[in-house]
Amino acid sequence: MRPTAFGSSERVKQSKRVAIVGLGKMGLLHASLLNVLPGVELVAICEQGALIRRFGKNVLSGLQIVGKVGELSGRGLDAIFVTTPPSTHFGVVETILSAKLAPNIFVEKPLAANAAESEELCRLVEKQGPGTNMVGYNRRFAVTFGKAREVLDEGTLGDVHSFQAHAYSSDFLGVRSSSKARARGSVLRDLGCHAVDLAMWFFGELRVEAAEADAVPGKGSVDSVSFRAVTGDGLAGGFKASWCMENYRLPEIGLTVNGSKGMMRVNDDDLELNLKDGDEHRWHRHDLKDDAAFFLGGTDYFREDEAFVRALTSGSEVEPGFRSAAMVDQVVDQVEEKASGHGR
């Protein structure tokens, strides 16, 4: 038995056995974090690419590296992390469930390539019975958005009457060919889904009223999206997403919320509250106990994996689960449908 990086041998005996499917950027990130989390034993990795697999065997000594998801069978796995491209999520998760490779599944966001696939995955996990499932909407674990949720729950803004959300990056700024952007899907499904997830976490279900999409680098990719939506309570929201923005060296997700008592602006870095009674507050991450036992890529990733492992250990549910993530995919589908008649 291979000891985890930071766990004692006694702890390893009781550890949850976890595998990862997909050894790309996110696969490596989760593999690293899982290896430092107590109570976890990373036992296997599945990677389709032969070259990466060969290097993986030398870099990650002691781990089983296989080429097909089915080869993960018979390893007594407690959970599998799926970090392959979104277009493959459905097939991978379906295989995990049908072959009973592990009862608990974490899927990197988005849950699937469209709402129909997501819905089917929800049906399959529900049919399977008890198990923890989670989707990697890591922004929910960022301290600024956690604080924003607290502010909303406390009613500090009074009656909320509107909000605007954005998801911006410079990833494809100046990139002429759209083929690579196309490979990543639309900006809304790739990046904007974080803003949709946060809005639904804050305000509940959304129904899209109108949407527009643009292809900036070239025909065929969706690089910029804006849409209007309303919640079940009639709260109106505006969304903008683009991966061709200037000055967003790192992607940024943000929301501005307007209420009867004032306004709140929140993004990955800080939260600003301007109340009509003159009260003003600004919290940076520094002020919000942005702690983690190990830092890699951002504290929210550590907390996200920690929450999944905690749920796994206690046999409880954790959010965002498949059902919440499927609702995000429904909104994205609605946007694509509404936008199909506009400037694509």
């Binding site: 990086a5 950027k25 593999a31 974090l33 070259l51 952007a181 790192l250 190990f294 830092f295 890699l296």
Partner: protein, 300 residues
């Protein structure tokens, strides 16, 4: 190491980096990415007491080095490089089709560079699936880029691995990566280094693996509010005493603009195990005031 701390001018403002907010980075304006202006800021910092320039390899910083390289200097500029540029790599991977796309692009650049050592290590790495050879190939390529840009007016003092590489390797128990980097850099007569946000963990792991700290540069956040000091400020401070042979350089001493220079100095001066600090500057006035004060209080 003695009480006098090494003072380095950092390059974050030139890349539009602010760890407090992107809004703040954007507000600094585009002048900072202009190599001529950035070179002036670096040299102003040196004139006001900085001992060297700490930078991540990128087209921006290599251009700055080219500008500085053309200037007459009494003493060579001391350079502390950080490789690879993970943010640039991540963006490249995003537009080039993930890790395989990034690897193809990097391999093409290395071949074009015609750096024999880099090409040989790269070929060996791929042929034998040897990650250590690939790492040596990448390092050779990065060193050749820096040396070709810096000219004769500078000395490459240290070459450190970026925090994402260091911290991922720590988490995955990849001690081979640390050993490979240390041995490769020493072979070139350059001091090996590691940037990390998990300083306490790194010192623990080095002890566990029996890696000698002597001559190794470790760069990690140190500030009075514990910003980005993982797992905690207390554990990072305690870890300083466990690595007395290393040269530990503190970054984020201003907690990304949250603290004033005097506040930052008050704190770092209480850490005898901290051998130096790296601070970025955005204006000529900042260069003069910041390094004036740092050299008066920490390097006097």
């Amino acid at each position: 190491m003695g009480d006098r701390k090494t003072l380095l001018v950092g390059d974050n403002p030139f890349h539009g980096v602010s760890h407090i907010s992107q809004e703040r980075a954007m507000s600094r304006g585009k002048d900072l990415a202009n190599p001529g202006h950035a070179a002036e800021l670096v040299m102003a910092s040196i004139e006001n007491g900085a001992d060297g320039f700490a930078f991540t390899t990128s087209e921006t910083t290599l251009s700055i080095l080219r500008v500085i390289g053309k200037q007459e200097r009494r003493e060579p500029l001391r350079l502390h490089a950080l490789v690879p540029n993970v943010v640039e790599f991540t963006r490249t991977a995003a537009v080039a089709g993930g890790i395989p796309g990034l690897a193809r692009k990097l391999a093409t650049e290395i071949v074009i560079s015609a750096n024999i050592r880099a090409v040989a290590n790269g070929v060996k790495g791929v042929a034998t699936n040897d990650p250590a050879a690939l790492l040596r190939g990448l390092l050779s390529y990065e060193v050749s880029r820096i040396k070709s840009a810096m000219g004769r007016g500078a000395t490459l003092v240290s070459i450190s691995l970026h925090e994402l590489v260091t911290d991922m390797a720590l988490a995955l128990n990849a001690d081979w990566l640390f050993r490979t980097h240390i041995s490769f850099a020493r072979g070139l007569g350059i001091r090996p280094g590691f940037e990390t946000r998990n300083f306490a963990c790194l010192t623990t792991k080095f002890e566990e693996w029996g890696i000698d700290f002597a001559g190794v540069v470790i760069t990690a956040p140190f500030n009075s509010i514990g910003f980005q000091m993982y797992p905690s400020k207390k554990e990072c401070e305690e870890a300083l005493s466990r690595a007395p042979q290393a040269e530990t350089i503190g970054f984020s001493i201003l907690a990304a603009g949250y603290l004033s220079i005097p506040e930052a100095i008050d704190y770092v001066s209480t850490l005898p195990g901290l051998d130096g600090v790296a601070v970025g500057v955005s204006t000529m006035q900042q260069a003069s005031e910041t390094f004036g004060l740092l050299s008066e209080r920490l390097a006097g």
